[in-house]
């Protein structure tokens, strides 16, 4: 069998090609120098992001990049940052981690972006953090509250943005303990870091009151079994750490089985305008019509950015101006503003990096702790912390789908530290003066 021998030889040679060392062992490929200015030219800065424009997380979240783009357009029309226009590339990953890896490599290798800004999602973004840090690409303002982004030793290029789920869970837990003492509590959480980290925070305060814990997967849109279990256990307060689509699904499923608990929803899924759109949409698909105002009234949520309905807030007014000029057809929701604030914050960091920005200078600007802006709680950025907003306020949705703050902003840490009220002053848009000299 000569041919078999030859074939065996080929296979052996092929195997030898890959046989050098274990697959899980380091090959000594070091990190690249961060101090490069890839993506920066005389008059542009190219940045990229991965967003769920399609797929399970698209309802609601597909509007974040729309808001961000409007802010970049307004900055560009105002002359750009230090004379450079921002070229914002959005790639759709459909909330699929495989696609995330592909599109991020596309942004880094083909589009040669200066930085990735606001990459969305925990299961998605966690797959590219190592890559971005190895390549030395700034990975700023991740759109997820997972704790993983705050790890300056292992991921020096990565910075969080929104309040992390544990901080938020602590604030929710304390509020529930103070307000609903003695009531039975049920958790309804996404089966990943969102759920795990939120529960870590909640359990510090309401572990004894929690009678039932249910999880959901974003791939399965039928949440009736979970809501039935919550109802069956007699939970009077349901903490929902859900993305917008699943807050809406949970509310509808509860209504369907005649279950009316007090919902307490995390900031990621508590935007009244987005929720009321989704409720209408989902109910219509199910062949029913609902009053979303009625379903949402009384819902308690947490947040860290001013609500879009608060037009007296200088930042809301500022972003409303941009919205009305560039994307007047889009509803002005908290989700859109989330993207706008994110874009604005990046622009601030880019400006702080000086007239000749490099990747290292932008990272230094982020960790300087000097960034102050629209949020009602401060950022945690410093040399030792890359965590985003450090606290939240509690609000209630009114019958007319506006909101009322029922507990003022408070800040805390991601460990077991105390929750303290925050009353620091914010800089106004005029004081930040982004496009001024």
């Amino acid at each position: 069998m000569r041919s078999t021998g030859i074939a065996a030889g080929f296979f052996a040679a092929a195997l030898a090609l890959t046989a050098c060392g274990g697959a899980g062992e380091s090959d000594g490929g070091g990190a690249q120098a961060a101090d490069s200015a890839v993506g920066v030219t005389k008059d542009t800065v190219v940045i990229g992001t991965h967003q769920p424009l399609t797929g399970p997380a698209a309802p609601g979240y597909s509007k974040i990049s729309v808001g961000a783009r409007a802010v970049y357009q307004s900055i560009n029309d105002g002359g750009g940052i230090n004379g450079r226009k921002i070229d914002y590339r959005v790639e759709d990953d459909g909330y699929n981690p495989t696609r995330t890896v592909e599109v991020v490599k596309k942004l880094v290798l083909q589009d040669k972006v200066f930085a990735i800004v606001g990459g969305l999602g925990t299961p998605t973004h966690s797959k590219v953090v190592d890559y971005l840090n190895t390549e030395g690409v700034p990975d700023l303002l991740v759109s997820s509250g997972a704790l993983a982004w705050d790890n300056p030793q292992k991921a020096p290029m990565t910075f969080g943005y929104q309040v992390d789920y544990t901080r938020e869970g602590k604030i929710q837990g304390k509020y529930i303990k103070d307000t609903f003492a003695g009531k039975k509590i049920g958790y309804f959480t996404q089966n990943d870091d969102v759920g795990r980290d939120t529960q870590a925070g909640l359990d510090q305060f309401v572990k004894d009151q929690a009678v039932v814990r249910q999880g959901y997967d974003s791939a399965n849109t039928d949440v009736t079994p979970q809501l039935s279990a919550l109802k069956g256990a007699g939970a009077e307060v349901v903490v929902c750490a859900c993305i917008p689509a699943f807050t809406a699904l949970a509310i509808l499923a509860a209504a369907k089985i005649g279950y009316h608990p007090q919902f307490v929803v995390s900031s990621i899924g508590a935007d009244p305008a987005t929720l009321s759109g989704l409720l209408q949409d989902f109910a219509k698909r199910g062949g029913a019509s609902v009053s979303s105002a009625q379903l949402l009234a009384g819902l308690i949520g947490t947040g860290y950015l001013p609500d879009v309905a608060l037009t007296s807030d200088p930042w809301v007014a500022y972003f409303k101006g941009i919205h009305d000029k560039y994307i007047p057809k889009e509803p002005f929701t908290n989700t859109v503003m989330f993207g706008m604030v994110q874009a604005y914050t990046f622009a601030q960091a880019l400006k702080a990096a000086g007239p000749d920005p490099t990747r290292q200078k932008v990272v230094d600007a982020m960790s300087s702790g000097a960034l102050k802006g629209p949020g009602l709680t401060p950022f945690g950025y410093s040399k030792d912390s890359h965590s985003g907003y450090t606290g939240a306020f509690v609000f209630k949705i009114n019958p007319d789908v506006t909101t009322t703050v029922i507990q003022p902003p408070a800040v805390t840490d991601r460990g077991t530290g105390a929750i303290t009220p925050y009353s620091g002053e914010r800089a106004t848009p005029d004081q930040v003066n982004l496009l001024g000299k």
Partner: protein, 355 residues
């Protein structure tokens, strides 16, 4: 005429020696040639295009496996993503838990794990046919990724696992970019696996597959064990799926349930139909289409400046339209279209010659 009686044996042997190369060797040489083409292609393109070439590679072996099952043996599988899932998680777990294992062992084990699952699925599938088989395999695609949530500590839950695979020998670090090296390894593995697949398809087993596809009763009357043949087809096909998943995990450094949705299984089947049912060349066109139609329609959406809701869903819509058009125009897929074109060219040349 007198010579004829004297040396009949050498006479018979002479023409045989001309094509004396055994098919396995021919296929290996072809694979080597193909690998050389890939190496050249990756050298003349940028790193990101290399990633796309590598992506085509692992889709190719998955689609080829499915072609063998659906096109050659007539068993519809709507669950091939599940075998990719198994392969990907095998590599992920091995890289994380047994870092000293070399990559080739990881990939072999990924194929073996896929094959084992295929054996089990095949045993059940041999008793089912038509829509029932499709339903059973679909259940596999829906159900299996949910395992990750059952064992969140072991399999990483919805978040999946991420890891870095180091495959470059220290000698080439800094000489050959990582993605290029990975692309070579992906294609080398794929081509070697394809050699085996082609050998099976062209061999006795392949004839058995086709006989079972065309008429099960006739096949069993001819002495073919129908059930066993079907299970073998599932086995080979699942080995390919497992390898594809393992290569994907190796290439992208991730294994997460969100990547192995039923939509993946359906798009693999669509690629089989698009490329040409039952043709291994068709598998290549199908894999190319999977990667490049998406990319092109995204570029198109960018160029046309559609409003976002249209642009976001354009790639899916374009893929659907192309699939419908191709199936209407060439029921035997892209490969069928090529064959038709070649036949036309030949006949027109012949017509010219006659004139």
């Amino acid at each position: 005429m007198t010579v004829r009686t004297s040396l009949p044996e050498t006479r018979v042997k002479a023409p045989e020696r001309k094509r004396a190369l055994p098919p396995l060797l021919v296929h290996l040489l072809a694979a080597l040639g193909a690998f050389a083409v890939i190496v050249v292609l990756t050298l003349v393109t940028d790193e990101f295009t290399n990633l796309r070439i590598a992506t085509i590679g692992y889709y190719l072996i998955a689609v080829a496996g499915l072609t063998l099952l659906t096109g050659l043996t007539g068993q519809v599988s709507l669950g091939h993503g599940a075998f990719m899932f198994i392969g990907a998680y095998t590599v992920a777990l091995l890289v994380r838990r047994v870092p000293s294992f070399p990559l080739w062992a990881d990939l072999l084990l990924a194929s073996a794990a896929g094959g084992l699952a295929g054996l089990l699925a095949g045993a059940a599938a041999a008793r089912l046919r038509g829509p029932y088989l499709a339903g059973a395999t679909l259940a596999l695609a829906v159900g299996l990724p949910a395992l990750t949530r059952r064992f969140p500590d072991f399999l990483g839950g919805s978040n999946g696992l991420n890891f870095t695979v180091h495959s470059r020998p220290s000698g080439v670090v800094g000489v050959i970019p990582e993605l290029r090296w990975q692309t070579w390894i992906v294609w080398l593995s794929v081509l070697l696996a394809l050699v085996l697949v082609v050998n099976i398809v062209r061999g006795r087993l392949g004839r058995d597959f086709r006989a079972v596809r065309d008429d099960e009763v006739a096949a069993s009357l001819s002495g073919i064990a129908v059930g066993r043949t079907k299970i073998l087809a599932f086995l080979v096909s699942a080995v390919c799926g497992g390898l594809a998943g393992g290569l994907q995990a190796f290439l992208l450094g991730t294994a997460a349930p969100g990547s192995f949705t039923p939509a993946l299984s359906l798009s693999l089947l669509a690629a089989v139909v698009l490329g040409g049912l039952g043709s291994l060349w068709g598998a290549l066109w199908g894999a190319v289409a999977l990667v490049y139609f998406q990319a092109w329609s995204e570029d198109l959406a960018d160029v046309l400046h559609f409003n976002t809701d249209v642009a976001n869903n354009l790639p899916l819509a374009v893929y659907g339209v192309i699939l419908i058009v191709v199936v209407l125009a060439f029921p035997r897929g892209i490969q069928g279209g090529f064959q038709w074109l070649r036949a036309r060219l030949k006949s027109s040349r012949r017509a010219e010659g006659e004139r």
